[in-house]
């Protein structure tokens, strides 16, 4: 399974060694959703992250191994207690409008992210930041509410982009129409329902990159149509491939199907603060009914891996391998009886309609849990209604989460008592303590041990069922070089992509 990815990567590397990246050309990229928001602080979906990354820069960025790498910040350091971080900025960086980047812009951008009125997802994802202030023109200091070892990684968050301070003071609406960033590309035209065009930023801080002159981001909402477009060479890079189309792409001539294991998962959330899920035996019983191998086939068409009810897998740093969970109906029935439901249990599982894998999983679980005495009614609803009425509130529903940059990112988002989206209401003090201690710990081995213990707690207590992890899938024409599918799913690095001579010439 890793062969497709490995082949792609190795090929890219070897040709890159054999021949220097070629400059020029137009790269056409297809995406599945309209990048409706241009303001990088407010981006929420993949295609918007793509634009954000091409047009803007952050202080740091996420490497393929989930470590922080320099972007606008060239170096960083923290105090002993990990509560204060200092970032040194790259000199002589200019925004697309010609103005110079200073520490003031960085401070203003972080202030905007933390302001609830901005509505920026960064607010709950960049760590426990209290304030970011400019010390001199090229130095900023981030003061935290508590120790946080992962801050440089958290600052690579998709929404943590730097915009000019001048624009933020009263002119933020401008960012809905124009892009004033420091990114490798400049905005040429923006028509989200169809096409967004960008061109090379000649003033980009890295004189080598980007390699291509021009990038066109085309919208293809329909999955089959999107596949057709790359097979018929209408575009060169397809960033969203559904599991059902992967086989077709793999067999298509001139197309390379890309695949990388990721921490993206579907889960079944159980409200641990209310009946019947407040009884750990009910949660364990349901967990025991799942044939996870079969679910990977049914829901992910085999393009994924089994989960053992913890939200992390081998794609994360510090992951601990835990034993596989196998279906055991007799034990499930017994646990259910011990919990006081010898005659079975009737439940309503809610799945939103987007994407359709949520309903697929719900229907599959309904069938799998039947023999153990669970009667699960599946109820689907519009995604907007789901977000408004069920998500983080309802006791029993299907969740879908992208991989986060760090273990703290995912645990702190979903599982701790003070998590931004504490949907399971598991509120386990021992678990909270482990996560908090890992935040204060700089030593990698110690952190690995702490996270391993935390994982084991989740594994045993099952605050939610995590049966399936999805691999990330993409596709490219074979003349595209330098594109590496990143497991996080929101890192694209189009500035590293180049086209060989065999690429079709386009106006």
């Amino acid at each position: 399974m890793a062969t497709a990815l490995a082949a792609g990567t190795v090929l890219g590397r070897t040709s890159a060694l054999a021949q220097a990246p070629r400059r020029g050309g137009t790269l056409r990229v297809s995406v599945d959703q309209a990048p409706g928001k241009l303001n990088p602080l407010q981006h929420r979906v993949g295609p918007e992250y793509l634009l954000g990354e091409m047009l803007y820069s952050g202080l740091t960025r996420l490497g393929p191994d989930m470590s922080a790498q320099p972007d606008l910040a060239t170096s960083w350091s923290s105090n002993e207690t990990l509560t204060e971080w200092t970032f040194k900025l790259r000199p002589n960086v200019t925004f697309h409008d010609g103005s110079k980047l200073t520490a003031q812009d960085v401070a203003a951008s972080f202030a905007a992210m933390l302001d609830p009125a901005t509505g920026s997802p960064a607010r709950s994802n960049i760590g426990p930041v209290d304030s970011v202030t400019a010390v001199d023109d090229l130095t900023v200091v981030a003061k935290l509410k508590g120790a946080y070892a992962d801050l440089p990684v958290a600052f690579a968050y998709t929404n943590a982009k730097i915009v000019p301070a001048a624009v933020l003071s009263g002119q933020m609406a401008r960012l809905d129409r124009e892009a004033i960033g420091t990114g490798p590309f400049r905005l040429v035209s923006y028509e989200p329902s169809r096409l967004t065009v960008m061109e090379r930023n000649p003033a980009y801080y890295d004189p080598e990159r980007p390699y291509v002159d021009r990038v066109e981001v085309q919208l293809f909402p329909d999955s089959a149509a999107r596949t057709g477009a790359i097979i018929s060479s209408q575009n060169d890079l397809m960033l969203s491939v559904s599991v059902t189309e992967f086989e077709r792409l793999r067999n298509a001539a001139g197309v390379k199907a890309l695949r990388t294991p990721s921490g993206q998962f579907l889960n079944i959330i159980m409200g641990c603060d209310q009946k019947p899920f407040n009884d750990v035996r009910v949660r364990q019983a349901l967990s025991l009914t799942l044939d996870r191998e079969a679910l990977v086939d049914l829901v992910a068409e085999g393009l994924g891996s089994v989960g053992v009810d913890t939200p992390v897998n081998s794609a994360y740093r510090f992951n601990r391998e835990l034993p596989a969970k196998k279906p055991d109906m007799a034990r499930a029935k017994q646990l259910l009886a011990e919990a006081g439901y010898p005659r079975g249990l009737e439940l309503t599982l809610i799945a939103s309609d987007r994407p359709n894998t949520r309903a697929q999983l719900a229907v599959a679980i309904r069938e799998m849990a039947k023999p153990a005495g669970f009667t699960i009614n599946v109820q689907t609803m519009a995604h907007a209604t789901f977000l408004d009425q069920v998500w983080t509130k309802g006791p029993f529903y299907i969740g879908l989460y992208n991989m986060q940059p760090s273990m703290d990112g995912i645990f702190g988002l979903l599982y701790t008592s003070n998590a931004a989206w504490n949907e399971t209401k598991w509120n386990n003090a021992a678990f909270d303590k482990l996560i908090d201690e890992a935040r204060r710990t700089a030593d990698d081995d110690r952190r690995r041990a702490l996270y391993g213990e935390a994982q084991k707690l989740v594994y045993d207590e099952v605050p939610s069922l995590v049966p399936v992890f999805f691999d990330l899938l993409a596709a490219q024409r074979d003349y595209v070089q330098g594109f590496n599918l990143h497991p996080r799913g929101a890192v694209y690095r189009i500035d590293e992509v180049w086209l060989t001579e065999r690429a079709p010439r386009r106006g």
Binding site: G36, P116, G119, F220, G228, A229
Partner: protein, 316 residues
């Protein structure tokens, strides 16, 4: 046609648009989950939601929101998209223009195919050709657009066949050939149902007209069958067809929603579906209003065309 008739018709269109505006506004008010929820997505916190609602004016009384909106509409300002922060009017009118292009080409293709088919069926009444056309038109009207579209997509648009680009849209002004080639499949899909519909209409009208004393008299006068058909019968048979075509514009505007969705054609139907999914109220309101107005105007045009073609009709 008198000026007062026209004035009355225009007045009734204004009334129609007013009722539609109330209806659409009412519907958008009771949509479960408001725009603030969709705007912030899974990152919403209560205070963020409140802040966004205040910014969007969603916390003001409903009647005030309506008055503010309709006041803007009168001045040509349809509001600002909650999703993109851009003015809705421009987005929606551009999308409408594309949809009208799709509709116009589909109507054209339909006329070119449907009228001859209808004529053949009427002249060969009861013969195999008639039966075949009749059967074909039943199949045509009975297939939902998404079935037809998918069939077209996997046959003609099959990428491995490489006959035609399946989807997407390129403005004709940008690249005429490529733009046109991308219109082929959606136009074909939309035409299928229209052809089936109109061919049946032409046939039955023509059969009626051919049976009238008027045509019999023309035949008895010794006019050639061809002349009888084209100069007398067909003209009269096509008149009612115009009304049907005007009604079909209503279907077109609704039916292309699905076709636009499947072929990723950025017309007004797709814009509306996206707006509904994102709870982008100004876009929903503007889109529905523009569609309804277009439909009303199309009907008016059909009436005028009908009157112009049929001198016998006099409006009081």
């Amino acid at each position: 046609m008198s000026a007062s008739y026209l004035a009355r018709r225009l007045l009734s269109i204004v009334f129609t648009v007013l009722v539609v505006s109330l209806l659409v506004f009412g519907i958008t008010q009771v949509l479960p989950a408001d725009a603030a929820v969709m705007l912030l997505g899974e990152n919403a916190t209560p205070e963020q939601l409140a802040a966004v609602r205040t910014r969007l004016g969603l916390d003001q009384p409903v009647w005030w929101q309506y008055l503010r909106w309709i006041g803007g509409v009168v001045r040509g300002d349809l509001g600002t998209s909650l999703e993109t922060g851009l003015p809705v009017a421009g987005e929606m009118l551009t999308a409408l223009g594309r949809s009208l292009l799709l509709a116009a080409l589909s109507l054209l293709l339909m006329l070119v195919i449907a009228i001859p088919l209808g004529v053949i069926a009427a002249l060969r009444r009861g013969k195999p050709a008639d039966v075949a056309i009749g059967l074909g038109s039943y199949v045509g009207v009975s297939m939902p657009e998404f079935v037809t579209a998918t069939l077209v997509l996997i046959t003609l648009g099959h990428p491995e066949v490489g006959l035609l680009p399946a989807t997407g849209y390129v403005p004709l002004t940008e690249n005429f050939g490529e733009g046109l080639s991308r219109l082929v499949l959606p136009v074909l899909t939309v035409s299928v149902i229209l052809v089936a519909h109109v061919a049946r209409m032409v046939r039955s009208e023509l059969v009626d007209v051919l049976g009238t004393d008027y045509v019999r008299a023309a035949r008895l006068k010794g006019l050639s069958p061809r002349r009888v058909l084209f100069r007398h019968a067909l003209r009269n048979a096509l008149l009612p067809t115009i009304t049907i075509v005007a009604l079909d514009v209503g279907y077109l505007l609704g039916g292309i929603i699905v076709v636009e969705e499947i072929f990723a054609f950025p017309g007004i139907g797709r814009a509306l579906i996206v707006a509904i999914q994102q709870r982008d109220l100004p876009s929903i309101q503007a889109g529905a209003l523009i569609m309804a107005t277009t439909y009303a105007l199309a009907n008016l045009c059909a009436d005028i065309a009908y009157a112009a073609l049929d001198k016998r009709i006099r409006y009081a």
